[in-house]
Amino acid sequence: MSDGQSLRLALLGAPNCGKSSLFNALTGGKAKVANYPGVTVEYRKGDFTLPSGQAIELLDLPGVYGDCGHSMDERVALDAVRGNLEGERAPDAIVFMMDASHINTHLHNVLQAKNHGLPIILVLNMMDMAARDGITIDLPALEREIGIPVISCVAVRGSGRSLLLDYLEEWGGDVSFGSAATPKEEKGDLKALQAKARSITSTAVSRVHQAETFSQRIDNWVLHPIMGLAILFTILFVMFQAVYTWSGPAMDLIEMAIGGLQRGAAAILPDGLITSLVVDGIIAGVGSVLIFLPQIIILFAFILLLEASGYMARAAFLVDTLMAKIGLNGRAFIPLLSSFACAIPGIMSARTIEQERDRITTILIAPLMTCAARWPVYFLIIGAFVPAEKVGVFSLQGLVAFGLILVGIVFALIMAAIFKRTLTKGESSGLLIELPSYKTPVFKDYIIGLWDRGMIFVNRAGRIILPASILIWGLMSFPANATTTAQTWAGKVGGLIEPLLRPIGFNLEIAISLIPAMAAREVAVSSLATIYSIGGTNADDTLRDLIAANWTLPTALAFLAWFVFAPQCLSTFAIIRKETNSWKWPLFAFGYLFVLAYIAAGVTYHVSLAMGLS
């Protein structure tokens, strides 16, 4: 392999020991990093070059404790190491990572990994944290006892990686010439390996007894059965209030900029179709969604902080008491919480759930979590119909949004309870997670994470909303002699499903907007913007004003109720198809969400009519 071919190294190790952080640091990659077990559920490749010119191809793998492959993510990691991944050759060597603070509990994992039959080194990560916790590791003794090279490392700091890079320089050469030794096989079962590991750590690792660590002191509050739940609820409540109350000024700025852009375009462009396309189609459509960028940024500012600090696993612990009662798997919480950003990574992270039926249950209810794409819909309708008043110190609009999110969660739990007693019957268990030490987020990673989330939102505007807006504009503008929405092509298409939706209070404009919203939920907002912009006479009216003027309150409430369930979003069904490897579950998910959305909207509409709302 000395012919200049790149050397393939696999990053193996327990969940949350810092593999993805090292991967990002070395390859300049953008793997998601956070402080909870199970962040990485898919393998990822990246390249870098050692100073000697040796090219390295690094494989970042999901965390795995042993060599059994209990769950899907663990099997991905083990398949990668064994060369069983389709279209991927086996790695040349293993870089085994371990959180130095957890060496006492995890050392047997590296003994097991020696049996993969590949050259292997042990990288002890977060050596600085271990030192802070009073742990001293005798590296030469450790190296002697386990019979493989041991390197200390702090993956998130350049100086902390220099020892590792120096070592790779030397060892990489040996691996590529085939002269690096494959370690001697470790004989004995897991029990025997654990006994061996314990005897090694008893001599090579010393720990100064500490009365109570910083993490433990925080946990006395955060994990308290009642106080802990109160803290969790408060965090979520403050988060959704902040999304509402802090975003105002930034939204006003964007709104002004969009208005200015529309007036500018109308002034420059010749009157007629082109102007209408740019002003009513593109700017109104894309702008109507982009205006929610501040909310998305604030939302993720909170979520990323919770993920990076180590709180996520605590939240999973707190809520598990309820999850166990319902019959949900303990590992379902993190996939569900991730689904608040987007159901797609949430559904993928259900791979950490061992029992197949529990994984399916989790996948089926993940779309009920309020994903970022629903926010524009909620913001628009709440902004149009709920007065911007305060209830005590709370924003009323924020309270309504929080209520909608709770409704989604409650229905997710109800549906899970139903599925667990019918379709996916069977015992559930499997919380079994390590609660990581609290960490201060790395500022740079935090800002990059926030930037990435913002850009995903903006890119969607370009990739999905722009073409959808142009499409809707086209369908709304022709035939040219149409005088009402119903006479346009869009009206004709919408008219096909409008009879189905009329009983639940939806008008023709809503019917039209729901069709392209299959691509992504927020397209409903951009489509409404285009539809009303073409019909609008006063250019200064915002979409919010137009909706408030054109819809009755029962219709608006029914629309909100629909979007709690919203069977839209093709990508969600595509990922369910991929993750379950069948058509049955995506079709079932679509079906049940559609039925729930329809019933919820219908009930909401008729109840609010009966209450005399208008």
Binding site: S101, N104, H106, L190, E212, S429, G430, L431, E434, L435
Partner: protein
């Protein structure tokens, strides 16, 4: 009668004697994540309903698990120290 991890009160420390092998996959998982014979284990926190789940200190790590899994960990003796 055999003592199990689930029999310990908050902050009570026990020493692991063995694993209940009636579900071999479970005892393997418990071993892999870091429980082994001879380890000191101390429950630190309990969930609201039925003390489920529980979080346990073992060898400086904190592991959260449900009671139905924790009962597979069998204990030798019960010390009454405040912490592990």
């Amino acid at each position: 009668m055999t003592k199990r991890l689930t029999d310990l009160a908050k902050s009570e420390t026990g020493v692991i004697l063995d694993f209940d092998d009636s579900d071999p996959a479970l005892s393997t998982r418990l071993r892999e994540i870091g429980f082994a014979e001879g380890d000191n284990v101390t429950p630190l926190h309990f969930g609201l309903f039925g003390k489920n789940p529980m979080s346990v200190r073992v060898n400086g790590a904190q592991i959260a698990l449900r009671r139905e899994d924790a009962q597979a960990i069998l204990l030798k003796a019960v010390k009454s120290e405040a912490s592990a």
